[in-house]
């Protein structure tokens, strides 16, 4: 059973005891512990259940690659599922729960899957659950989903805050081990802007633990001293930024790198995590290497761990994972662990080295300590259920005849080390297979390339295959120097890697019975036999095998299982590992919090809300808003006992009978000025604008070059060389952009300037029979029908405001649009309300505006038009110039389908029973389509209840509509049924225009 050692523990502070709970039980640990080390110290070896078979799992690693020890942390708005216990810093009062088990970690119903495992090989679900059909959705699938899924979903919104930060660097260094520190010092000394990031809570990486075991020194100093010196030196460099608890998680095109800083891991912080968006000229990857498990039967029994992890727990955290630990290794690394354990006072009944005749300082040290070394030996199988009780040893070269059984309570395994090539590969760096070292390492000749086509990622230390601290130091320093100079990886000599025999299954000739118990992917329960099955069934591409078996698709993304899987597949296919190739590496290096990706863009900052100068008044007067782009426009202003629709009806009546006010500030206002402005206007608009008289207004249409309607609005000629274009709210930005695009990219020699004045002005529509009287009361400008006829405009001082007044109408009533500087908008609005009180002045919203324009038969961009509609479709052919030689869309409009007389065209529609037809309803056509659908011959574009006429009114686009007035058609109803309606003239209100011109 695992326990805390009486002494030792470089990382922990025995004077800082901490209390925490696991599955509700009170536990204790020390400052500096991880959750995993503290649990082990308490004898809690089993920390989770596997994904598929729900087998009990203990931690297998001591770091970010952990596939097993996943727990739920915290509660309520602070609950986090799937946290890796091995990298979770222990904090006072931490609450952790185990996952993927029911009812309890010790007893889990799901574990029945393990009993059934022989029926559930890789891909079993593709082969069954076929009948009866409905069972998949209702029985099988829910069962599968419930048994999968690991942690519980959070039940409440996130109570934490996150932020992002953008910065640039000459050199970004991922990993703060010896190589990373050395790289940072070199780059720093060269004066480069350096950012050094380390995912863990301390600098120095493995050297802290490993170097002393062999008496290795760095630059002649003890590792700890050198690391301290390095950190001190770097901290004095103003051009170097250092961060712990920060993983460089992704490398993208053009030197963009992503890093997640877990601020809260370092102690209380205003934000839980900070996402760094870094532009780096060069990136040094120094994330080290990942130890590989060995594939022997029972290698998933809790207590079987990576050798490096076993000694990290012992030396770093003062934790014994067992009293008697059998070490099995394919290389030198196992010796380090054996030595560390013996020095910590624990028993190592045997060190099984698959090699023969291994020599070197480590071997000698182990012999000197009297450790029993068995050469050419491996593990036939591990005994034990909830924990290890012993191992049966056998010859590695052979089928696995048991030579001896050794009692032990833990196993430390080392299958060699794989360089962490993830960041290198993410942005397109290629790998090369090193046969002698049995590893994929970065191919310096085929690096990820940046904007200039040169390699911008330089691997260093263990990430580049370095085996010794000395090599890590050298390669780190070299990479740092090159990076600072903007050098490329081709100029970087790969460090020496340790020779390593290829031991993919243990024993080499293990039979099926053993291979069915050799785990490759501990979390997803993928065994050697599963990969062999995939190969047998023809899933021979590495991607097929991965997807078929789910190997490497667990939350560790194959950090432990990939190489073993590839080797097994290669063996099954009779192909060498490089022929098999690797799967693609994708960001992130380790999972990053979705909240940190969203950053501060939550709540009010989620998206900008644009406000008009009168918005405060709308807020204060109960406006019911609708989003229009980023604006929020009042839909209506409901009063006590009114809903938004009733309010819209009242507002409509007020405009027809008295006078209404509409906040039209959101409508686009674009100035076009210059000697060639007239010519330009004639290209932008479908109708003629160059001949518009100064002081007059004209309604105009804008098409794209395909001939489809983009926008409409009233244009005013301000002066000889200046036009003011009103656009829809949605059009303000994109019509201005449209104009600039044509000016800059097609007619750049024309002398025209444009400016978007939309936000400079507040604009109020004053509409209704009392509109003129109201403006007269404000005083200062002559707005009489003589002085200001329909479609004219004037400038003056209205009630003391510098104002532009346009006599234009979107309602069919006498109507003025008053435009003043934005900062005076609220005052103007207030003045209009006060002066107009006894005239029944009524603010109205977008819905009343819609009803009014529909009664008058005016079209609305985005309702009657949808990007596939021509002016002719809307009976606006009169606004498409025949005279002009060219305008944007002229040629497009002549294409056969756009000119087709059979196209749907605009008409009014009135239901026979007077009820409101549903907007969007389809007009049912005769017969069926070739694909057997009911034919349609049009659709209802907009539909309202008209308070003016007391019945429903609608506009529709119907095939040859205008030629069919009086005809009765059927329109659809949501929820089935049809409705009869008759085609009518869309202009229902004041067809002669007396009121408009009055």
């Amino acid at each position: 059973m695992s326990r805390r050692l009486e002494t030792g523990g470089l990382f922990i502070d025995r004077n800082a005891p901490m209390g925490f709970t696991f599955d509700g039980k009170d536990r204790g640990g020390f400052g500096g512990d991880t959750l995993a080390s503290a649990l082990l110290a308490c004898g809690q070896l089993v920390m989770g259940r596997s994904f598929k078979y729900h087998r009990q799992r203990g931690p297998v690693s001591c770091g970010a690659e952990e596939p097993n020890a996943l727990v739920g942390l915290g509660e309520g708005g602070l609950f986090e599922p799937n946290a890796r216990a091995t990298i979770t810093p222990l904090t006072e009062g931490l609450r952790a729960i185990s996952q993927n088990r029911w009812p309890s970690l010790a007893f889990d119903i799901g574990a029945v899957n393990a009993k059934l495992s022989k029926f559930l090989p890789a891909g079993f679900y593709y082969k069954t659950f076929l009948w009866p059909r409905a069972f998949w959705k209702h029985v099988y699938e829910p069962a599968i989903r419930r048994s999968a899924g690991l942690g519980k979903p959070p039940s409440q919104p996130d109570a934490d805050r996150y932020e992002q930060v953008n910065t640039a660097a000459d050199v970004l260094i991922a990993g703060g081990g010896v190589a990373g520190l050395a790289a940072a010092m070199e780059a720093g000394r060269n004066g480069a802007r350096v950012i050094l990031m380390e995912q863990g809570p301390r600098w120095g990486g493995r050297a802290l633990i490993d170097a002393p075991l062999t008496g290795e020194t760095i630059d002649g100093q003890p590792a700890a001293d050198w690391i301290e010196m390095a950190v001190d030196t770097l901290e004095t460099m103003p051009n170097v930024t250092m961060r712990l608890h920060t993983q460089v998680s992704g490398v993208f095109d053009h030197g963009f790198a992503l890093a997640e800083e877990r601020c809260a891991d370092a102690g209380p912080a205003p934000v839980r995590a900070r996402l760094w968006r870094i532009r780096a000229r060069r990136i040094v990857t120094a994330q080290g290497a990942i130890e590989r498990p060995l594939a022997f039967a029972g290698n998933d029994v809790p207590g079987v761990m990576l050798a490096g992890a076993v000694r990290d727990y012992a030396v770093g955290y003062g934790v014994a994972v067992g009293e008697r630990v059998v070490v099995v290794t394919a290389g030198d690394d196992g010796y380090r662990t054996a030595i560390a354990l013996v020095e910590a006072g624990l028993a190592v009944p045997a060190l099984l080295d698959v090699r023969r005749g291994a020599t070197g300082p480590l071997v000698e040290r182990a012999q000197a300590l009297g450790i029993r070394i068995e050469e050419g030996r491996g593990i036939a199988h591990v005994s034990g259920g909830q924990s290890v009780t012993g191992v049966s040893i056998c010859a590695q070269d052979g089928p696995g005849e048991v030579i001896e059984e050794i009692a032990c309570d833990a196993v430390a395994m080392s299958g060699g080390w794989s360089p962490a090539v993830h960041l290198w590969s993410q942005a397109g760096g290629k790998l090369t297979w090193d046969e002698g070292a049995a590893m994929f390492r970065p191919d310096h000749a085929r690096p990820p390339t940046g904007a200039d086509g040169s390699g911008f990622v330089l691997p260093a230390g263990g990430s580049d295959g370095a085996a010794s601290t000395e090599d890590a130091l050298r390669s780190g320093a070299e990479a740092g120097r090159l990076a600072a100079e903007g050098g490329v990886p081709a100029d970087l000599a790969p460090p020496q890697a340790a020779p390593m025999p290829q031991v993919w299954v243990m024993p080499r000739d293990a039979g099926l019975a053993l291979r069915e118990k050799m785990w490759l992917d501990f979390q997803n329960d993928v065994k050697v036999s599963d990969v062999e099955l995939a190969a047998r069934e023809g899933y021979r591409s590495v991607e097929h095998a991965k997807r078929y078996t789910t190997l490497g698709m667990a939350t560790d993304q194959g950090k432990l299982s990939n190489i073993g899987g590839l080797a097994t597949l290669g063996h099954a296919l009779g192909e060498a590992i490089p022929q098999v190739g690797t799967t693609t590496f994708r960001p992130p290096w380790t999972p990053i919090i979705l909240g940190s990706i969203a950053g501060s863009a939550t709540g009010a900052q989620f998206q900008p809300v644009r406000r008009t100068p009168m918005q405060d008044w709308h807020d204060a007067n109960g406006a019911d808003y609708e989003p229009v782009g980023q604006w929020r426009r009042p839909y209506s202003y409901p009063r006590e006992g009114e809903d938004r629709e009733a309010a819209a009806q009242r507002e409509t009546r007020a405009v027809r009978e008295a006078v209404g006010l509409l906040d039209a500030s959101t409508l686009g206002k674009i100035v076009v000025k210059g000697p060639d402005a007239g010519r330009f206007m004639d290209m932008i608009y479908t109708n003629m604008m160059s001949n518009l008289a100064v002081g007059r207004c004209r309604y105009g249409l804008i098409c794209n070059d395909s001939g489809f309607l983009m926008d409409d609005g009233v244009v005013a000629r301000l002066s000889e060389d200046t036009w003011l274009c009103h656009t829809t709210t949605g059009g303000a930005e994109h019509i201005h952009a449209h104009m600039e695009e044509w000016l800059q990219t097609e007619w750049w020699d024309w002398q025209v300037y444009t400016a978007n004045l939309t936000e400079q002005f507040a604009q109020v529509v004053v509409a209704g029979p009392q509109a003129r009287k109201l403006l007269d009361r404000l005083g200062g400008m002559d707005v009489s029908r003589e002085a200001m006829p329909f479609m004219s405009w004037a400038e003056g001082s209205l009630h003391g405001f510098d104002a532009r007044v346009f006599r234009i109408s979107f309602s069919g009533e006498v109507s003025y649009e008053v435009s003043v500087r934005a900062s005076e908008g609220a005052e103007l609005w207030q003045a209009l309300l006060e002066e107009g009180e006894d005239l029944g002045v009524t603010p109205y919203g977008t819905e009343a505006m819609h009803i009014l324009r529909a009664e008058k038969g005016y079209v609305m961009i985005g309702e009657e038009s949808d990007g596939t509609i021509t002016p002719q479709d809307l009976n606006l052919g009169w606004a498409v110039s025949k005279k002009k030689a060219d305008f944007i869309g002229k040629r497009g409009l002549t294409r056969s389908h756009l000119a087709d007389p059979e196209r749907p065209r605009l008409v009014g529609l009135r239901s026979l029973d007077g009820t409101v037809i549903e907007a969007g309803a389809q007009v049912v056509g005769p017969g069926v389509t070739p694909t057997g659908q009911n034919a349609t011959e049009g659709r209802v574009t907009s539909s309202y209840h008209s308070p003016t006429f007391g019945h429903g009114i609608a506009m529709a686009l119907i095939r040859r509509g205008p030629e069919r007035l009086g005809e009765t058609v059927e329109v659809t109803r949501i929820g089935g049924g049809r409705q009869k309606a008759v085609l009518v003239d869309p202009v229902l209100y004041d067809a002669k225009g007396d009121r408009l011109n009055g």
Partner: protein, 433 residues
């Protein structure tokens, strides 16, 4: 056509001597033999010198095209050429959403045909593609979207597509983790297709591949087409990294690389290749039993059978063949979904990836003859190709067999771009005033 390869259409997969039938009983039998008795799902074929039909691209669309050529038209002397590994393109990279709630008649016909084929695909192929009709909802979060989706619901009612427009309460009931009262974009309703859902993307490709192989077709992987030869306006064959292959009928079904193949054949397509990205969270226990698409904020999400939240968003705006998109699109998507589903904020992104999608001038696909006789294209599926696989294969097989488009493919011909006859699905989104 070689008589020897003639076969009655519609033979049930795995009934013949050729293929082992999958079932729970077979599984039990194999369990006793440690699963040593399972045969290859498909043969790794060597290219022959000539075929009646050559299909470039062994993704879902190419394999489905081949399958229906055999099943519906009895044409089995077919090669499917794949540059990499089958199903390795967008078929294996998408977010697996299946729906047919389209506005335009032509689209609805195509996607509903496809969806209905998915209903029985597992049984037909004797391979569980895990079609899960859990329901797809498209949230309406602006008045404009309400109008657009109501319009679609009306259209669907005539197209025989079962959809309804539901209110916010029903939305909340169907998907409790949605924040329907969000301050910025409260959910005003949704277009709901109860028989929409998801399927296991790899299984669709593998199931079709297994069936094609069983019909005697040659699936040739790691075989890249390097040239297309033709004589007086008609195709004669293709050059590949594994030799020349003669054929009189060539189907280009290479989403992402369609323009590259068209270039070889000597014509241009109204297509741009754009990166599209997706991501998954770490797996959690089931908390979402429907597919939700939120177009105002540009994000969609569903939960896989493994428990991962599968998340997708919009494409990058520039051409690229890198299968790597730009991270800010991931940020926009995640931002939108955290706002819509607040509980996901503390989940972690496990993996992000990208694919290359072809975007056409009207965002609708192309199933068409081409300027070169005997060459047919199936492309332009944009971000929505997975859902179309069976229907696309069905219609494409029809086009190949008869040399002219049938009723489903008809509207999707290349000539529509000359005529201006766009099939534009984005129209439901228009908002102005």
């Amino acid at each position: 056509m070689q008589g020897a390869r003639q076969r009655p259409p519609g033979r049930r997969i795995g009934k013949g001597p050729g293929l082992q039938r999958y079932s729970v009983f077979a599984l039990a039998r194999q369990a006793r033999r440690h699963h040593l008795g399972w045969q290859r799902a498909w043969r790794d074929a060597q290219p022959k010198r000539a075929y009646d039909v050559v299909i470039v691209g062994a993704g879902g669309h190419g394999l489905a095209t081949a399958y229906y050529l055999g099943k519906n038209h009895g044409i089995t002397n077919v090669a499917i050429l794949e540059k990499g590994w089958l199903g390795g393109g967008n078929t294996g990279r998408n977010t697996t959403i299946i729906r047919s709630n389209y506005l335009q008649d032509a689209s609805a016909a195509l996607y509903e045909k496809s969806r209905s084929l998915y209903e029985t695909l597992s049984q037909e192929l004797n391979y569980n593609v895990m079609y899960s009709p859990r329901g797809v909802m498209m949230l309406a979060q602006t008045e404009g979207e309400v109008r657009g989706y109501r319009r679609t619901a009306h259209a669907n009612s005539l197209q025989g597509v079962a959809t309804e427009f539901i209110g916010p309460e029903r939305v909340k009931q169907l998907c409790p983790i949605i924040e329907t009262k969000g301050p910025r974009y409260p959910v005003l309703g949704a277009l709901w297709q109860p028989r929409g859902g998801t399927a296991r993307h790899d299984a669709v490709a593998w199931g079709y591949a297994r069936a094609c192989s069983d019909m005697g077709m040659d699936i040739i992987q790691r075989c890249e087409v390097t040239g297309i030869s033709s004589e007086n306006g008609h195709v004669t064959g293709v050059e590949t990294t594994r030799g020349s292959i003669a054929t009189r009928k060539l189907a280009l079904v290479t989403a992402g690389h369609s323009s590259v193949l068209a270039e070889m054949a000597g014509f241009r397509l109204p297509i741009e290749s754009l990166p599209l990205q997706a991501l998954v969270s770490e797996p959690i226990k089931p908390c979402m039993d429907v597919v939700v698409m939120a177009n105002t904020v540009h994000g969609y999400m569903s939960q896989s059978d493994k428990g991962e939240m599968v998340i997708g968003g919009g494409t990058d705006g520039y051409n690229a063949y890198t299968q790597r998109g730009s991270f800010h699109h991931i940020e926009e998507t995640v931002r939108a979904l955290v706002e819509t589903f607040p509980i996901i904020s503390r989940l972690k992104m496990l993996r992000q990836w990208g694919g290359i999608v072809d975007m056409t001038g009207d965002r609708s696909p192309i199933l068409s003859t081409t300027p070169v006789g005997g060459i047919f294209v199936n492309c332009g599926w944009g971000t929505g190709g997975f859902k179309a696989i069976p229907g696309s294969g069905w219609a494409m097989a029809d086009l190949l067999a008869r040399g002219a488009p049938g009723p489903i493919a008809g509207p999707f011909g290349l000539e529509r771009f000359r005529e201006g006859r766009m099939i534009d699905e984005s129209v439901a989104a228009g908002v102005a005033h």
